[in-house]
Structure formats: C-alpha cells, structure tokens
C-alpha cells in the first residue's frame, strides 16, 4: 500500500520535474528573499542609535551616496572588478583551451584548477601577505639573487588587491570557458583547417565565437562576486583601498549603521544589474545562437 503511494508520488515528480524546485525555492525564500525584503525596508528607515533602525521613512542613506567619498569607492570597486575580470579572462582562457585539448592530463589539470578550494579562502589570502610584504618571500628572494636592492612595495597597494582578487576568482573564469570549449568537436576545427584557415583564423572565426557563452558565464561569475568582495581588499589593500564590500561590512559591523549598509548593498545590486544587462545585450545575438547550437 505504502509502496504504491510512493510510486505514485515518484511518478508525479517525474512527470512534472518543476516540483523539484520546491526545496531549494523554500530555502531561498526563507534565507534570501525575506532578508532581502527586510533590507529594502531598513534602507529607507532612520538609523537607530545602538544599531538597528527607528520607525519612519527617509531617503538620506541613498542620498549620502552622492558624496564624492562614496562615489569614489563605488567607482574604484567597479574598476577593480572589471580589471579583475579582464585579467582573469586573459589568464584563464588559454588555460581553459589547453585543458580542453589535453588528452591524458585533462582530469589532473582540472583537479589542479579546483585544488585551491580545498583550503580556506581566508587562509590563502593571509598566505599572500607573507608572499608580498616587504620582508616576504618574493622580496627576500629577489634581493638575495641581486635583482633588486630595496624591497618592492606590493602589500597595501591596488596591485596587491588585484592579485588577491584574480587569484580568488580565476577558477570561476576557467571552468565555464573550459566547459564550452570541451563541447567543441575537433572535426569542426579540422574542417576549418582543410578549408584554408590558419591557426589565427581558426581561433578568431571558430573557437572564440563558439566559446562565447563560456566567456560570458565566466565573466559574470568573476565580475559579480568581485564587486561585492571585501576580504582581499581588507587584508591586502589596507584602509586606502576600501571597496564597497568593505563599506557594507563596516556599516553592519563597527559603524552600526544598518540602514546605510543596506542602501550600499542595493546600490551594488543596481550596478550589477545594469552591468549584466548591458553586457548580455551587447553580445546577445552571438551568444543565444551559440547556446542554441550547443544545445
């Protein structure tokens, strides 16, 4: 009897797979949508003296963003995230291509790409301090072999933040590009070659357009979290390199200004949304057809 019921339930799920969205949907509702709603409300309320909010309605937290101080932080964040995305693309694409064409080493190389995830992100970022500080591994080595006499100042510069961001997000660029290149059959490249396409032409006319969806996905996966990240800039950038992530963290933490922190979060979300829409629209034709053909 029970078995029959179980079978029926399974049959219903299989015939209507959207029911499978329910558990994750419930989770997101509880821990994402509802808190987000709370934040929307908070961002329009006056600040409480000891944290929290007081009843009322105000736009002051959003208007505060027009202050050049915060606009600078916002601009710096966008530039940093965009730069990180560009560097990840330049570094990650060749890696993804090489892995997709590797035969025997493919799985080991993929493992190496995701290996950094095995240790804590925080620990890895701390390790970079030891590499980059004035008495760190890089400077002492360079000084010992006589390339430089004075240590190169790397820590607490935008360079250090960029290194940290790129290191953190590079795998998120490599994996989607790899996935799109992996599906590209060799016979298509061979057809291009027989038809007269030299290596550069094959890359420009065939490989690059067909890996477009992977590039788009990778860029989004890097750009969006880079925009909200705060640990690399906090640990490697010092106070001078504050990004919007640090601002938000600060407002919810030390500054006890929850409404302003909420408003800052929504400004970031707005920037992300606009950026993503512009990006997707600019390459829509190619991307959607490439996606269709791949599917």
């Amino acid at each position: 009897m029970k078995d029959v019921r179980k079978q029926r339930l399974l049959a219903r799920i299989v015939s209507k797979p959207t029911t499978l969205l329910a558990p994750a949907g419930f989770w997101l509702l509880l821990f994402f949508i509802i808190p987000l709603g709370v934040m929307v409300v908070y961002s329009f309320m006056p600040r409480g003296i000891y944290g929290g909010v007081e009843p009322g309605f105000t736009l002051e937290h959003y208007l505060r963003f027009l202050d050049p101080l915060y606009l600078t932080i916002l601009l710096r964040t966008v530039l940093m995230a965009a730069g990180c995305t560009a560097v990840c693309l330049l570094l990650g694409y060749p890696v993804a291509f090489a892995i997709s064409r590797a035969r025997r080493w493919k799985h080991i190389l993929l493992l190496l790409v995701i290996m950094p995830f095995w240790t804590s992100f925080l620990v890895r970022t701390f390790a970079m301090i030891f590499l980059m500080r004035d008495t760190g591994l890089i400077n002492t080595t360079l000084m010992r072999i006589g390339v430089i006499t004075e240590p190169i100042v790397m820590l607490y510069t935008p360079f250090a933040v960029m290194v940290g961001l790129v290191y953190t997000f590079l795998p998120f660029m490599i994996l989607p590009i790899y996935a799109s290149l992996e599906r590209l059959p060799n016979s298509i490249l061979e057809a291009a070659e027989v038809l007269g396409a030299k290596p550069a032409a094959r890359f420009r006319r065939i490989i690059l357009p067909l890996s477009g969806p992977g590039v788009v996905a990778g860029s989004l996966l890097v750009f969006v979290p880079a925009l909200g990240s705060f640990i690399p800039s906090d640990l490697l950038g010092g106070a001078k390199q504050m990004l919007i992530g640090n601002l938000v963290q600060n407002q919810f933490g030390a500054a006890r200004n929850w409404p302003f922190g909420s408003a800052a979060s929504f400004v970031v979300m707005g920037v992300v949304l606009i950026g993503v829409l512009v990006y997707l629209r600019s390459g829509r034709g190619e991307v959607t057809t490439a996606l269709q053909d791949a599917g």
């Binding site: 059959p185 298509i188 057809a191 291009a192 070659e193 027989v194 038809l195 490439a290």
Partner: protein, 366 residues
Amino acid sequence: MEFRGVSKTFGNTRAVTSLSLQIPPGEFFSLLGPSGCGKTTTLRLLAGLEEPDRDGGAIFIDGVPVTDRRPYERDLSMVFQHYALFPHLSVARNVAFGLEQRSVPAAERVRRVRDTLALVRLDPGQFGNRMPSELSGGQRQRVALARALVIKPSILLLDEPLGAIDLKLRKQMQLELKALNRTLGITFVYVTHDQEEALTLSDRIAVMDQGRVIQIGAPAEIYECPRSAFVAEFIGESNFLSGIAREERDGLWTIGGNELEFQIPAQPGIGTGSPINVAVRPEWLRVCPPGQASHEANRIPATVREVVYLGETLQVVAEVTATRQTMRVTVPNEGQLKNPIVWNPGDEVVLTWLPGDCQVLQEGVS
C-alpha cells in the same frame, strides 16, 4: 595523387602499414573496409590531418610531395562524417568560409556561394540565411558538400558522408555524387564501410583490412574476381570450398578432398597436389532435384535447411551432405503468391554450378 610506402602508428597500433597507391585525376576512388581497417586514417593522412610515420613514406598530390604541408596548404577539400558544419554561421557563411580564407573578393564570393548551393540542389534564397541547426540531415549533408566544393579543390575527400542519412535519400545522394564527380572533373576519394555504396559509386575500389590494401580494382573485378576470402566475404556473400588439385582433363582441374569433388578451369600456378580454395557466389549456384540432368558439371548433394524471403530474391540455405557445411543459394523471386518456390526444409537436393563460376582465391580461407 599517390601514396608511397606510407605508414601511420598510433601508440602501439599500426593503423596503416606501408601503404602505396595511385589515384589518377578525376577518378572516383573508394576506400572500403570494416571499421578499424585504416581507411579513415588513410583519408586523414591525405588531408594532412594526420602525420605519417617518419620512415621514408611520402604522399604526393599532382606529383608534388605534400607530406610536410599543413592541410590548408594542400589543394584539397573534405566532407566530414558528421558534417562538421560551423554551428554559429549561417548556411551561406558556412559555404563562404573557404573563400574568405582565400581572400576571394566579396562579389565573386556571393556568386560562387549561390552557384555552389544551386549545384547541390539547395535554393540559395531559401536556405542561405538558415542556421545549420534548422536543417535536416540531408540538407546539412548538401551544405557540407557545397562548403567543400566551393573552393574548387583538385581532390575532394569524403569520409562516410552518407552514413547518417536514410536509405532512400542515400541512394539519391549517391547518384548526385557520381554525377558531380563526372561533371566537375574533381578526384573523389571516398571512405565507406558499405560495400554496395562502393560498388555503385566507384571507378576503382581499394579493399582494406588491418591497415593494408588487400585488393584494388574496378567494382566488377573486386566482385567477380576476389583474390582472397576476406574480399569475397566482405563484398557480397560467398560460399567457400577447399580441396587438393587431383588431375587436369580438357582444361578443367578436378579438385577433391573433404569428401566432395568439383571442377575449376585450368589456370597457371596449379599443379597436382596444390591446395585450392574457391569462392562461389550464391547467385551462381542452382538448386536441382536429385535425379535431374544438368549441363553444369559441379554437383553437390545437399539438404535444404531454410528458405529465406528477401523480396526481390529468395535464399535457399542448404547443408552439404558430405561435409555438413552450409551453402547459400540465391534464387530469383518469381512471385511467392502465384508461383511459389518448390523447396521446403528437409528436401534432398543437388547444388549445381559451372566450373567457370569458381573464384579461385590466391590466399587461404581465413
């Protein structure tokens, strides 16, 4: 086009072993064999997609050695097994690809794309702007063909191009390919595992097995004079008989052994005591009642085991009484409803054929 002693080794396996063959311009040449026989590797060597072993073998096109040339430096084109169309380019852009790589001016490019699409019977106006994903298998095949032909290569390589389309369309495409070969004057090198397709299309066929060419010849030579049991069995069906040459009389050798006797025409290289292997095509055998006289000298008593209906023909499967081996006889179908065949399983019969219909194999029965 010529291969001179070319080999190709992948790891520990030899895909192609010291292959030598010549193909004159304009010929429709087929490489035929079971999967893994090296036919596709041979084609890819010719295309330059595989590099031959460095052991002195060389490939020539129009008398010029091309062994060290990249595919895009060889004057040839290729139709791939699964079309390998560029999924992100429209039909017209796919076909134009080779012309763009050769920097053909835009106006000429447009004209040649249109003409070539028309040549493969695709309406340029209707199909030019479609994406490959919007086409049927047969249409994709035509686009792949147009893309390869538009650059006017001197050699067109085709790797099982009709493998993925249905039988009726395949027959039609075969005729079109043959016509294109004749009208364009391009050498076609065609890889297939389908013996019927090879016989239909080719001027000459190379039958390959285990990386070697077993026999090269016109379709009729391959079918009617197979030199080995492999060829006799791979191309069409064959019944195999073996024995020892006993004596020659009136231009016929009597072959005996295995408790049955048959005759073959005298030919050089046979002496008393030579082991002889022959193949007899099922359609050259006849089934007769035991007592009936026949002008056909070879007669073997057998028992009918099965009668198989094949449509245009019937096949009688019989067991030879003396050796218990199975022989197949193809009989024309004269209409089973009006004029049914008289044989039933269990009937005692005699299988007869002419000595001249024995194909003497130069290599042993495998």
